[in-house]
């Protein structure tokens, strides 16, 4: 991959294409998780490819290519979401306030997740509202740090931390009843 990156940086279009194809599936999955299943996610690939191609000069080789590409994809998805929704902001002020950050459930997800329940966890993540789902997907699928996530979402790093905490808490609350009830506990 390092060789392909070097060739792509010197203007080799085929090398860039090779790099992109290596991460194409991840790009598609990120778009589906952020935009939801549907035509918008399916059409995103070509647009993201063009954006990445145009912005490749700004790529820092010290960063993993996959991380950078997913960051570009994340930016694109956020732009799409802002266009789809009637209000420009995806997050209300109350979502970003650091108050009321007490834990809701007695234990994190590890006690609730068994192999056969992971599909239920995935379903629960995909049913989360955008404001919780986006940072969760960018962090745990895109493996982006707070700074990169903040840049995509237009937020400060502290606000990203707050959103992630709330997202995980909400996920636990959502799953606590579903999984425990399904097990008859």
């Amino acid at each position: 991959m390092q060789a392909a990156i070097e060739r792509a940086r010197s203007g080799d279009a085929a090398a860039f294409g090779e790099l992109y194809r290596g991460c194409e599936r991840d790009v598609a999955r990120l778009c589906q998780r952020m935009l939801g299943p549907g035509a918008a996610a399916e059409d995103a690939g070509s647009e993201i490819f063009l954006r990445a191609r145009r912005g490749f000069d700004g790529y820092d080789p010290k960063r993993p290519f996959r991380t950078w590409l997913l960051s570009v994809a994340g930016h694109y998805c956020i732009d799409q979401l802002r266009r789809q929704r009637t209000e420009a902001r995806l997050f209300d002020a109350s979502d970003l306030e650091a108050g009321d950050l007490a834990a809701a459930a007695p234990s994190p997800l590890q006690y609730l997740m068994r192999r056969e329940e992971r599909d239920a966890v995935l379903a629960a993540i995909e049913e989360l509202p955008f404001k919780w789902r986006l940072p969760l997907v960018l962090r745990h699928f895109g493996e982006l740090d707070y700074g990169a996530i903040g840049e995509i979402l237009g937020l400060e790093k502290g606000q990203v931390g707050t959103l992630l905490f709330r997202a995980r808490r909400r996920l636990r609350e959502h799953l606590a009843g579903t999984i425990r009830g399904g097990n008859g506990r």
Binding site: R33, P37, E87, Y111, R118, L122, L136, H140, G161, F165
Partner: protein, 523 residues
């Protein structure tokens, strides 16, 4: 050093803490086993989330997803409406074709005999449980405040407190002061009299045989007695459940009266709401505003400051009668209002016959008045605001769906059971002295639940009508407004509107009951 909040450990686990705080957290973790366990659990959680998101493909787009929320309602409402409509038609036909006179009182528009029966029942219960009235009133205020506070605390902390809420209620009752300073509570087996020249600076709640008020009462008056005579002054409102009522003095507020006979020769400044078998407004009698009534024989010789509105067997506006506003009356036993030559009505006179309740003439009349639409607008605004506040405080209230016809019928069934069982449970609880505060709290909860039920269904209807579906309060508000408008229109349709309203309330009540049960199970 005390433990850090979990949010800090969440950021720590992500490796994103600022260096200064990072050192503090690590120092704390050295000595705190509980926090180390939490951090370990959070790391496991993050690792599992990574695995789930990265190893599994996203789910494919479901087909016809947008139709799901509406299907349950659409499949269920029509047959339910048909069934309810058939029941109402049959019952209405049975009533209108004439029942034997011995059971004529079953007809809701025929009150003869029902008055006597109702009063016998009330006074029998009152006399058998003499302490109940005093005790019920004395704890009602404390219980209401305790219930409100408990409810507010539980929704603000977003937890279902369940037994904790009940325990808090019990403690509040035991520790709370009786509202003795705000209201004088009396229970007499015979007569009570406030003599002329005496003044009571508080409200009066009284149960007795005969109550006579010749003095002045600064507050409201609540009376349960066989006879009430007011020759003095009541500066607040009058709430009376009596066999015989005479108002020769003045009531500065409104009167809410349920009595067999009522005679007003004095003055009522506010509205007068009367359910009387016989009502007489003497020539010297003055009603400052509206008279809203239901009864058998109403005779007016005095003055009504605004409108006359109600249903009555016979209405007579005698020689000196003056009604400054409109007269809108449905006559149950006579063909027309008896209006003497000297009587005067300042506004319009609209009279309908009993059967015309369901006829064209009365059902469309209300749609022709402007104030009908003003009140609809106020009703809509209040419901919308309440819905927004409830969504902000307790968003889980609206986490309900009606995906299938089966879900709709299940909710309707649960709602019907709740609507029937709850009042019975409240009444049974009220029979025992200990249960009275629970009964009042239960009544409060039932009323709040009925109001919320309509909002919940409105949100579901709005979700089906409005796309795309967002999650912010603006998106919710838009869905709620559209749903409320839709429900407002269908619930005010002629003839079927009432039935639809009943279905909406019962379905919503059922959804809330199921939500409450699910929350209780997952606590």
């Amino acid at each position: 050093m005390s433990c850090f909040p979990e949010s800090v450990y969440s950021v720590y686990t992500d490796g994103e803490l600022a260096p200064a705080q990072l050192r503090e957290v690590e120092m704390h973790l050295v000595g705190c086993r509980k926090c180390r366990a939490l951090v370990l659990a959070l790391r496991e959680e993050a690792s599992l989330l990574n695995e789930v998101l990265q190893e599994r493909e996203p789910r494919p787009a479901p087909v016809h997803a947008a139709a799901a929320p509406a299907r349950g309602l659409a499949l269920g409402v029509v047959p339910t409406l048909g069934a309810l409509g058939a029941v109402v038609f049959v019952v209405g036909w049975l009533i209108e074709t004439g029942l034997p006179s011995s059971i004529g009182w079953l007809n809701p528009f025929r009150l003869m005999g029902a008055f006597a029966m109702a009063f016998d029942l009330i006074f029998t219960v009152r006399d058998r449980v003499p302490e109940l009235f005093d005790f019920a009133l004395s704890v009602a205020a404390t219980v209401s405040v305790a219930a409100l506070l408990t409810f507010a605390v539980s929704v603000l902390t977003r937890r279902w407190t369940g037994p904790v809420a009940l325990a808090a209620l019990g403690l509040a009752m035991a520790a709370g002061p009786t509202p003795g300073s705000a209201m004088l509570l009396e229970h007499h087996h015979d007569n009570y009299e406030l003599a002329a020249g005496e003044t009571l600076d508080e409200s009066l709640a009284i149960s007795g045989e005969s109550v006579r008020i010749d003095g002045v009462i600064e507050g409201d008056v609540f009376v349960l007695a066989r006879k009430l005579t007011v020759r003095g002054e009541i500066r607040g409102n009058l709430f009376a459940c009596v066999r015989n009522l005479e108002i020769a003095g003045e009531v500065s507020g409104a009167t809410y009266v349920f009595s067999e006979d009522a005679r007003v020769s004095g003055r009522v400044v506010g509205n007068a709401y009367h359910v009387n078998r016989d009502f007489t407004l003497e020539q010297s009698g003055r009603l400052g505003r509206d008279l809203i009534f239901l009864g058998e024989v109403f005779e007016l010789r005095g003055r009504v400051g605004r409108d006359l509105f109600g249903e009555v067997g016979h209405l007579s506006l005698l020689e000196s009668a003056r009604v400054e506003g409109d007269v809108r009356v449905v006559l149950l036993d006579s063909d027309e209002i008896e209006i003497a030559p000297g009587a005067r009505v300042g506004g319009e006179i609209e009279q309908g016959r009993d059967g015309e309740h369901w006829g064209r003439r009365s059902w469309y009349m209300r749609y022709m008045t402007g104030h009908y639409y003003v009140w609809l607008g106020i009703e809509l605004g209040a419901a919308f605001l309440f819905g927004l506040v409830l969504h902000a405080l307790a968003p889980r209230t609206f986490d309900v769906r009606l995906d299938t016809g089966g879900a709709f019928f299940r909710s309707l069934g649960v709602g019907f059971v709740a609507a029937v069982a709850a009042p019975i449970a409240i009444l049974l609880a009220a029979v025992t002295v200990l249960g009275v505060p629970l009964a009042f709290a239960g009544l409060f909860v039932l009323v709040a639940a009925l109001y919320t039920a309509g909002l919940v269904v409105a949100a579901i209807v709005g979700s089906a009508l409005v796309h795309p579906r967002g999650e912010g309060w603006r998106a919710f508000g838009w869905r709620l407004l559209v749903g409320l408008l839709a429900l407002l229109v269908v619930c005010h349709l002629p003839i079927v509107g009432g039935l639809i309203a009943v279905i909406v309330l019962l379905t919503g009540l059922g959804l809330l009951a199921q939500l409450g049960y699910a929350a209780y199970e997952s606590r």
